[in-house]
Amino acid sequence: MTEIFGIPVQAFMGQLLIGLINGSFYALLSLGLAVIFGLLNIINFTHGAQYMMGAFCAYLLLNKAGLGYWPSLVIAPVVVGITGVVIERTMLKRLYNLDHLYGLLLTFGLALIIQGVFRNEYGTSGQPYAMPKELTGGHNLGFMFLPTYRAWVIVFSLFVCLATWFIIEKTKLGAYLRAATENPALVQAFGVNVPRMITLTYGFGVGLAALAGVMAGPIYQVSPQMGADLIIVVFAVVVIGGMGSIMGSIVTGFGLGIIEGLTKVFYPEASNTVIFVIMAIVLLVKPAGLFGRER
């Protein structure tokens, strides 16, 4: 059998694919962070908690209202997005002219509070969330067994990522958004309601996190800690990709998922540090990140 670096090529392909799946989550989450940072200049540390809220929202919709996975995929991001809008209106908007540190502290504090409330209510061992019937089972690809749900995760998150990139980089609305971050006063002078646009952008970024949370529900336990464990890695992804770069966060999200997946084969003990090693190297060589612009 052909081998790559001492492991059979089939196993290698399997691990590549798994890396891609994990990369989907990194990409979705880092995308939301990049949108928020790029347009609001806020380092949104609540992102992990909002991802968790998305998963819990789906869980509650299922158990309290009897609504399954598909409706949740739409409702949860909207509901959590609205909580994001409230946070932006009542708290974040006061911080735009201050140092980044204030936004970071506020959102970090909020994350701790939200996680604490959920932990108090649901404990830490997590709640089960069943996979939608249509997506159970899987296919034997020859080199690995690919669960249908995981395939769906890759396809759907790629779609969401590219759609977001398209809206921001290629449409008129996106042009307004980008202009508003460069020079809000001028854009407002043209009759665009900039504060409302910024609020909705934050709501959208938060909604993306919640969407990732709903998608994670059937794979991982729905638990208050699920976001806290992930958010640090996702921040590393954003830093490597370049703060605020949309395409950068998508590409590095998927790329780092693959690198992490391969580390789990060659040296599993290092699998949760490898991303930070890469981050350190990138920061030394290219401080603005792989796709970032020096300001």
Partner: protein, 402 residues
């Protein structure tokens, strides 16, 4: 840095009345419950362990006996350095007399050493490593609830007997996982099985698919999960997703708690076989205890770790009463001398190496149709008597055993 949560419940505020109290340092017996309060093991021990300690103090009747007992608690965050710092502060500054629980073997081994140096008492319930009564044994430590040898022997032995003779381990990469893998591998080899390989994953991992794929590739009949808490539930859930069980391989959850089964749901957890030393639905005493813990801990039923904290505190206080001192070394010696008797584990004793002896139960998770509701989860398949459940004293390599 670490949040020392002072839940300072002055449980008994009775005044000291002469004799029995004379040797208790500064008139107060101070119990420190150190646990994982916020992460993957918090439902196994955590706030439920604090509640259990409080019930034990109440049931012992400390107030009536004129003993003043205080309980403090803290979160070790699964970090040995944080746990050590808390232990030192508790012993040196806050005059804590004994530390209880400490799930996470890495932290427990550190607390074990500090307790020995300071001549205090450490009654461990949550940590699993059998080294605590083996090469790291201490005259100041009692290992109450369970250990890796017991799990390996109970679960591993039963599985090899039913034909599961080739194993691959998914191991949490720290003291506990290593000990559990080592002890289980020994049982497997001794019973005529073989170990095909293992992969070590970091503590608190979200995604196990890479590791599961390696386990699948090994073609082993049994995939042994030498991990705990959230790591175990995520591995089981994702193994189902990747069709591992359908493909003919079986999972052996070597350490599974009631809270894990609750989190997984019976649909996913049904049929799992593992070993426990406590199940709430065994008799009237255990059921009554479960109701009280649930009332104090957000409706969550007790795990064996929390039951162990209760029984440990009870026996610790009895030993203080009998020894008329709260000096750690003397109290632990007294604990070993007195036979144990409590409503949860029944009659038993503590060996010279610090190992508490009681029966263990091989349990199987019920099918959803068999369960009457939340927490009605186990069928007890067999009882392993106390003298066979734990590692023979002479095999542990403990220096206290002559």
């Amino acid at each position: 840095m670490f949040a020392v949560r002072k839940l300072t419940a002055a449980v008994a505020v009775a005044l000291a009345a002469g004799g029995a109290q004379a040797q208790v340092s500064d008139g107060v017996i101070k119990i420190g419950v150190m646990s994982d309060m916020s992460s993957l093991y918090a439902d196994i021990g955590g706030p439920g362990s604090v509640a259990a300690a409080r019930l034990a103090v109440e049931d012992f009747g400390a107030a009536k006996k004129g003993m003043k007992v205080e309980i403090v608690s803290a979160d070790h965050q699964n970090k040995a350095d944080v746990g050590s710092a808390i232990a030192r502060q508790w012993y040196d500054v806050e005059k804590v007399d004994a530390i209880f629980d400490v799930p996470n073997s890495g932290v427990a081994l550190a607390v074990n050493q500090i307790t020995r140096d300071k001549g205090k008492a450490f009654i461990n319930s949550g940590a699993a490593s059998s080294d605590l009564t083996g090469k790291a044994c201490s005259p100041n430590t009692v290992h109450w609830t369970y250990d890796t040898w017991m799990l390996a022997n109970g679960t591993g032995g039963a599985i090899v007997k039913t034909g599961g003779d080739s194993w691959f381990f998914l191991t949490a990469d720290y003291a506990f996982g290593h000990a559990l893998e080592r002890d289980t591998a020994e049982v497997v080899k001794k019973s005529g099985g073989k170990v095909l390989g293992q992969v070590r994953h970091p503590l608190n991992t979200q995604d196990f698919s890479s590791f599961l794929l390696q386990a699948q590739g090994s073609k082993a009949k049994i995939i042994g999960l030498a991990n705990a808490g959230g790591d175990t539930t995520n591995s089981i859930k994702q193994a189902a997703e990747f069709g591992i069980v359908k493909g003919g391989q079986s999972l052996a959850g070597l350490l599974v708690f009631l809270s894990d089964v609750h989190g997984l749901g019976l649909n996913t957890a049904q049929g799992l076989i593992f070993t426990e030393t406590f199940y709430w639905d065994r008799n009237n005493d255990t059921r009554a205890f479960a109701k009280r813990i649930a009332a104090a801990n957000n409706g969550k039923y007790p795990t064996m770790v929390q039951a162990g904290v209760y029984a440990g505190v009870l026996h610790y206080l009895k030993a203080i009463e009998a020894a008329k001192t709260d000096d750690g070394t003397k109290v632990v010696a007294k604990m070993k001398e007195l036979p144990t008797d409590d409503p949860l584990f029944g009659k038993g004793r503590i060996r010279a190496d610090g190992r508490k002896l009681h029966p263990a139960f091989l349990v199987e998770v019920k099918k959803p149709a068999e369960s009457k509701g939340p927490y009605d989860y186990y069928k007890i398949r067999s009882e392993i008597p106390a003298d066979q459940a734990f590692r023979p004293e002479k095999d542990g390599g403990c220096s206290l055993v002559r």
